[in-house]
């Protein structure tokens, strides 16, 4: 096929795509128009029903809590998959890393990066827990909090403290914590079943003040479990990847 022919096929395909795309766009509701009833209904009843002012979290961990359990386990399985694949390779002796080349020093981490990373580690831990613990009050939640929490561990690594990083996130413990987080979420649902209620029913006292930290029953509990799970899953993936990349470096020192 000549480049000319290829270009014509591309142009014909593009024209078709553009036509369908514009047709689809023309059928969209107007900007800012929300056609479905669910959002409006939830906006009206969610705070009264759950005492959570973070309505998005109320939806995630309560109204569609079952979907979120599924999503939770997607991440769990993904992290497990990464760990399985990389651990299988760990024992193998790979070809020398480029960093290992004779006579070549590792590029040292700059003092500025180390300093900033150290300064941010504490705030990242606080921020992560804050986000995970305030799903019911404000826009936040276990998922975001978990990733921020995991960032704290990565900052320790960025600060040039690889050995400290490994000490604060040993693989066995990270594995267990991840399972605890994922299992905790599922267990909250099963606890409801044990009490004769439907799966994931909010069985804890909701509190009286909407938006108080102690309000909303299981929503904040689930958020904390999700935070722990996400943080551990993310740390685990990073540990496994770093393990492979840096094992050789460590030895060469």
């Amino acid at each position: 096929m000549t480049p000319g022919q290829r270009r014509w096929i591309f142009l014909a395909g593009m024209a078709g795509l553009a036509a369908f795309y514009l047709w689809g766009l023309a059928g969209l509701p107007g900007f800012g128009n929300y056609p479905g009833p669910y959002g409006d209904i939830l906006n009206r009843i969610a705070v009264g029903q759950t005492r959570a002012t973070g309505v998005v979290s109320a939806i995630n961990f309560e109204y569609r809590g079952f979907d979120t359990v599924g999503e939770e386990f997607i991440l769990f399985v993904a992290a497990t998959g990464v760990a399985t694949v990389l651990r299988h390779l760990r024992g193998e002796r790979e070809g020398a890393a480029s960093d290992e080349a004779v006579g070549r020093d590792l590029p040292p981490t700059s003092e500025a990066v180390k300093m900033v990373a150290l300064l941010l580690t504490g705030p990242a831990v606080v921020m992560g827990w804050y986000l995970a613990a305030h799903a019911q009050t404000s826009p936040s939640g276990g998922f975001q909090g978990g990733v921020v929490l995991a960032t704290a561990f990565i900052l320790v690594y960025l600060a040039g403290q690889y050995l400290t990083f490994r000490r604060v996130s040993p693989v066995d413990v990270t594995d267990a914590v991840e399972a605890l987080g994922a299992g905790g979420f599922a267990a909250v649902g099963i606890a409801a079943v044990a009490m004769g209620l439907p799966y994931l029913t909010n069985f804890l006292p909701l509190g009286t003040t909407p938006g108080a930290v102690t309000s909303s029953g299981t929503i904040v509990l689930i958020s904390l479990f999700v935070g722990v799970e996400v943080a551990a899953a993310f740390v685990l993936i990073v540990v496994e990847l770093l393990d492979q990349t840096l094992l050789l470096r460590e030895e060469s020192r």
Partner: protein, 98 residues
């Protein structure tokens, strides 16, 4: 964005619809430019950094469209987690290539 909203944002300090529209259009254009920049960056390591900046732009976009929860998710995943994983994967590939 046609200015038909009476109030674009319900906050103690009301933002006039025109101002909100201008902000939203500006950030939409920036996101489009950012996405193009990601595609045009051909060095993978550099691309991960540009992707992180793009994630930050996208987070601001979601904030401008009044979705603070999505903003947080995009900030953590798009601007931090994804670029870190990409860089780690690149480091791993590089160490194996030689």
């Amino acid at each position: 964005m046609n200015g038909s909203h009476v109030v674009a944002v319900v906050t103690p300090h009301e933002v006039t619809p025109g101002l909100m529209d201008a902000l939203q259009v500006t950030i939409l254009v920036l996101v489009a430019l950012g996405a193009t920049a990601v595609v045009l960056t051909r060095v993978p390591a550099r691309q991960a950094i540009v992707l992180s900046v793009y994630g930050l732009l996208l987070a601001i976009l979601f904030l401008a469209f009044q979705a603070p929860d999505v903003t947080l998710s995009e900030l953590t995943v798009g601007a931090v987690a994804l670029p870190i994983l990409l860089l780690l994967a690149l480091a791993k590939i590089r160490s194996r290539e030689k």
